[in-house]
């Protein structure tokens, strides 16, 4: 599957079906810090994603604390 890691401005190819929480753990990304999007849908951490999928990891942390 294609994984677009938005805040790192990179795309990685991951092979094999797995749950979102496993994908994030393999990529070393804290699940609290991103939303996982497939198409227009948000995915929970127990959702299975597979080779045909394209998913976006969108950061939720913003630094605008003024």
């Amino acid at each position: 599957m294609k994984v677009l890691i938005r805040h790192q401005k990179r795309e990685v190819e991951v092979r094999g079906a797995r749950r979102v929480r496993e994908l994030l753990a393999e990529l070393g990304i804290n699940p609290e810090s991103v939303l996982v999007i497939r198409g227009a849908a948000l995915l929970t951490h127990d959702t299975r994603v597979g080779d045909e999928d394209t998913v976006e990891l969108r950061p939720v942390i913003s630094g605008g604390v003024a």
Binding site: S33, L35, L42, R58, V65
Partner: protein, 315 residues
């Protein structure tokens, strides 16, 4: 994972509440949380005109959107800070939202009004960019709200923002700042407009989820000046704790409001007066924003007059 209300596939899990919702019921949950916060904290009423500080990011656009849907009369305020393509893109997103929603939007332009952007203002007065930016935004929020007769200024600060600020204030025992940290800052002077944070109960993941589900096109990239900001480090640290122990951020911040804040209240400076130059609230004779812009303008004037060497001290 199933939606708690309808058993459809869940879209958003809220671990600190041990629950999950489908998109439709998440929006319902989200809007109810915001409505409760506004009513419980007596932020404003449906009769009040509210100025919403809008940056083009997820939190402020989500806030504007939900307040409009809840029926509050709102006007957006976008401030052009002059931070290159970042400001240009965030302004485009804000204008596009306002146009699509047929919502009233006011624009303030720092380079246009003061002759330099916030980065130049910062350099000219030996501040870091975020300090000049924060000072400029707070000043203009209040000025525009006061000039326009708004009852309150609403900002999109969420639970993560507040918990991160609190952590920073605790780590350095900033008791004056601790005393001022609250979801509602009442007007304590005729020139000071009430400030409210209707998202103080809502996590950052949830404001982002709201924006995405509603199809709000917000600026995802962060301000280039925020790279390495201490507030981001605190957020990351809190997210590590939150992942291991859901509810940590809520417990920290809500616990502070209930137990900690009463201990430090009264330590903030309350002797406000009108700035001699602009009439905005200040604890001194001339407000920090006027001091900053006047020093920066003087420095620019001297430079143009022949490159004279100028020394400045922090505002």
């Amino acid at each position: 994972m199933r939606c708690r209300k309808c058993a459809a596939d869940a879209a958003v899990e809220i671990r600190r509440h041990h629950t999950a919702f489908c998109s439709e019921h998440f929006l319902e949950f989200f809007e109810r949380q915001v409505a409760r916060a506004i009513e419980h904290e007596r932020m404003f009423t449906p009769e009040d005109r509210v100025l919403v500080a809008v940056s083009g990011g997820k939190d402020s656009l989500a806030l504007w959107d939900v307040l409009r849907r809840l029926g509050y009369p709102t006007t957006g305020l976008y401030i052009n800070l002059g931070i290159g393509e970042y400001s240009a893109e965030s302004q485009r997103k804000t204008l596009a939202y306002a146009e699509a929603a047929n919502a009233e939007l006011l624009l303030a332009d720092i380079p246009g009004e003061y002759g330099m952007n916030v980065e130049e203002l910062a350099r000219a007065t030996h501040r870091v960019a975020c300090s000049a930016c924060g000072l400029s935004k707070r000043y203009l929020f209040n000025k525009v709200a006061r000039d326009g007769g708004f009852a309150a200024v609403a900002t999109g600060h969420n639970l993560d923002d507040e918990a991160a600020v609190l952590l920073g204030n605790l780590l350095h025992w900033q008791t004056e700042y601790l005393a001022r940290q609250a979801p509602v800052l009442e007007s304590t002077h005729p020139t000071l407009v009430k400030k409210v944070k209707p998202f103080f109960r809502i996590a950052e993941r949830e404001t982002a989820a709201y924006a995405i589900i509603r199809g709000i096109d917000y600026i995802v990239d962060e301000c280039p000046n925020s790279v390495g900001a201490r507030s981001l480090l605190y957020k990351e640290a809190l997210n590590v704790l939150e992942q291991a122990a859901p509810g940590t951020k809520q417990s920290l911040y809500w616990g502070f409001l209930e137990h900690g804040r009463p201990l430090v209240q009264g330590r903030e400076p309350v002797d406000l007066r009108a700035c001699l130059h602009c009439g905005q609230p200040t604890t001194g004779e001339v407000c920090a924003f006027c001091r900053m812009t006047e020093r920066a303008a003087e420095r620019m004037r001297l430079r143009r007059a022949g490159g004279a060497r100028v020394t400045t001290s922090p505002a």
